[in-house]
């Protein structure tokens, strides 16, 4: 009798768990689909396809191999829709709205897609040209593509979608740490792993500072705690000792938790630790070109 009661309870738990899972999935998809504009469209435009949801398993069917990049950045799900001009049917706009889990990852994907500074004035940061518009806001990365040159309509759709994202989460604070003087516009990128191509650096940001025909990069790698950061600093030092060289020079004014060296692929390197961050510069020619910027970066880390 007791056993039967137990089994009944267990079944109830399973059923409730199933119902809860269904509600969760449905509400998640509904939340994402609600960002697809159906009203207030630009004059003459109509929704002709979608919203079509995609998850981690089906994203490949939609964007082929590029799905890997999104999954690397924490892709949770997406919706796709196509809009068409009622009279000029060749004139279509495709919209993809990706839920990337959080604002850092949404910025990360955005930063990998952006190849020049052409802000469109929507979302937390954006890009706009004649055929495409993309932006990120909160945990969402939004990408629009127009078959015909259509900057105004792309702007209209982008603003419409951005207005539906009410979450006020700001841009990742680390973006603001990078010194602005000399920074190549729109060059700050976020990588969820393998920063500078180095496994031990894990996730972090990189900004580019043109230096004649060459480029200097400042980087900011983020760890769980200062112990992990110290460990990564040691690994960096070991890596340079094996594959490049460590400079015997004292890296004043950065103290003990810092070193200089040369990487066979990145060129000159300065690395230092502050709390759970590792920061540094790579690819510079003279110390004067990087130390003032590193000092500034260091000073901005709170």
């Amino acid at each position: 009798m007791e056993k039967r009661k137990y089994h009944r309870k267990l079944w109830i738990v399973f059923i409730l768990a199933g119902v809860w899972a269904c509600i969760e999935t449905t509400s998640w998809a509904a939340a994402l689909e609600s960002l697809v504009p159906k009203k207030g469209l630009p004059q003459g435009w109509t929704l002709i396809q979608g919203p079509q949801p995609y998850n981690r398993k089906t994203l490949f069917e939609h964007i082929n191999g590029q799905a890997e990049l999104f999954i690397q950045y924490g892709f949770q799900g997406s919706v796709f829709a196509i809009y068409q001009h009622k009279e000029r049917t060749q004139n279509q706009i495709e919209a993809d709205i990706y839920d990337m889990g959080n604002a850092v990852q949404a910025f990360g994907v955005f930063s990998r897609f952006r190849n020049e500074d052409r802000p469109g004035g929507f979302g937390l940061d954006s890009y706009l040209d004649d055929h495409s518009a993309f932006f990120y806001k909160s945990r969402y990365f939004v990408l629009l593509y127009a078959a015909e040159s259509n900057r105004d309509t792309l702007t209209h759709f982008s603003r419409l979608i951005a207005s539906k994202i009410s979450d006020p989460t700001p841009s990742p604070k680390e973006i603001g740490f990078f010194p602005k003087d000399g920074l190549k516009p729109a060059s700050i990128q976020y990588f969820p792993e393998g920063l500078l191509g180095k496994q031990f650096l894990k996730k972090g940001f990189r900004g580019t500072y043109p230096n004649g025909e060459k480029e200097t990069h400042l980087f900011l790698s983020i760890f769980k705690d200062s112990r992990e950061a110290t460990n990564a600093l040691k690994l960096f030092q070991e890596d340079l000792s094996k594959k490049g060289k460590i400079s015997p020079e004292n890296v004043i004014p950065f103290g003990d938790q810092a070193f200089k060296g040369e990487d066979p692929y990145q060129g000159k390197v300065i690395v230092l630790q502050k709390g759970f961050y590792l920061l540094g510069g790579v690819g510079f020619e003279k110390d004067e070109g990087v130390i003032p910027r590193l000092k500034e970066l260091l000073g901005r880390i709170k």
Binding site: G65, N115, G194, Q199
Partner: protein, 381 residues
């Protein structure tokens, strides 16, 4: 006498012995599965009727974010690089072009074009050439075929023929993620395609293997992508990298000309390149197929990549471990040991009841589902 607490390292050690067999583990460790150095052996194979001699381990550039990784691949002798017009809106092609400027004759570049009007496709190819800083592409691949009809599309033939005649590309092909076996069989009937970029790994069926063989025999160069889905945590696998094993498994099929694993770091490309020097018997490789559950993303590999992501610091990794023991390795003795050693794990409610799980698995594992599975295991135990 079982230990009261099974730590991860011990678990992995036990696992490698259980799954691979005690005899296989030392054999695998003794093979040159370590990191590739400057003088690592490099294996070349012929890419079908193109005649290009490509490295069996080549490189998928898509996820790569830093030129240093490409330069390291080049130094390791890798000579075939796969990119696409659409990856990061062309930034990926730009990186390849910039990195290999001055080295163009020493590398083979494969990029892609999407089905569209001829004018748009032509513009796409021209843009790719500009980004790649070259006046020719080695292999131009039609991106993402999904039906056999597309493979024999006369419009495709015409456009690709023009690209060859105009010298924009030396060879052409197609890529596919779906219906691969029928597509390969259809492609094998015509003499048109030089290369097929396909998703191919140890999970694929005999039918797929036969289709690959048929296509290869017809002269199509087979480039394998998605050869692996595992992590890079060989130190936690008793010295064996599941990633390398999966890659080697694919390359054991001599119908495959090369594999293009996607890499993001220097460590990863060195690890992949080292596979070219490793040799295994068919028996060992069949045993490696048992790693399938690890590599398919069905269960947690305990890689630790999600550590620290839960804002409430839930014991999620222990829950995932329970699910892995039960579902992946079907070893409830291990489940019992973990539960006996960690009575607090029975308090799974705060984690399983959380509706805003912030934990993201890099390998695409559904963390919530795994936690639910752990809950069921705990309720049953």
């Amino acid at each position: 006498m079982p230990t009261r607490r099974m730590d991860r390292r011990k678990f992995m050690k036990n696992l490698s012995a259980t799954v691979l067999g005690v005899a296989a583990a030392p054999l695998l460790r003794s093979a040159s599965f370590g990191k590739s150095g400057q003088g690592a052996s490099v294996e070349h194979r012929t890419l079908g009727k193109t005649g290009l001699r490509v490295t069996s381990v080549s490189m998928g550039v898509m996820n790569c974010s830093d030129p240093s990784v490409l330069l390291r691949a080049f130094d390791l002798g890798i000579n075939f690089y796969d990119t696409a017009d659409c990856y990061m809106r062309g930034r990926n092609e730009e990186m390849v072009g910039k990195t290999f400027e001055g080295k163009r004759t020493k590398v083979f570049i494969q990029t892609k074009v999407h089905a569209n009007h001829e004018k748009n496709m032509r513009a796409s190819v021209e843009t790719s050439l500009r980004r790649l800083r070259t006046d020719y592409i080695d292999v131009l691949v039609w991106h993402g075929h999904s039906s056999p009809g597309e493979v024999s599309d006369p419009d495709l033939f015409e456009f690709m023929s023009k690209m060859k005649k105009e010298g924009k590309t030396r060879f052409t092909g197609f890529s596919t993620h779906r219906q691969m076996a029928p597509l390969l069989r259809e492609a094998a009937k015509s003499n048109f395609h030089d290369v097929a970029l396909i998703s191919y790994n140890f999970t694929h069926s005999k039918d797929m293997k036969e289709a690959v063989a048929l296509a290869a025999q017809s002269g199509i160069g087979i480039v394998a992508m998605k050869t692996q889905a595992g992590g890079y945590k060989k130190e936690k696998m008793g010295g064996l990298s599941p990633h390398q094993a999966a890659l080697k498994y694919v390359l054991m099929d001599r119908n495959v000309s090369c594999a293009v694993p996607g890499v993001t770091t220097i460590d990863q490309i060195e690890e992949c390149a080292a596979v070219m020097g490793a040799s295994f018997s068919q028996r060992n490789l069949n045993e490696l197929k048992q790693y399938q559950s690890f590599l398919q993303g069905r269960i947690c590999t305990l890689c630790g990549g999600c550590k620290g992501e839960c804002p409430d610091e839930a014991d999620r990794s222990d829950f995932l471990r329970l699910a892995a023991y039960h579902d992946g390795y079907q070893n409830d003795q291990l489940v019992k040991e973990v539960l006996e050693g960690n009575p607090r794990l029975k308090n799974i409610e705060p984690c399983s009841g959380c509706s805003s799980c912030a934990v993201v698995c890099r390998r695409g594992l559904d963390v919530r589902t795994q936690v639910k599975m752990a809950k069921e295991i705990i309720l049953r135990s």
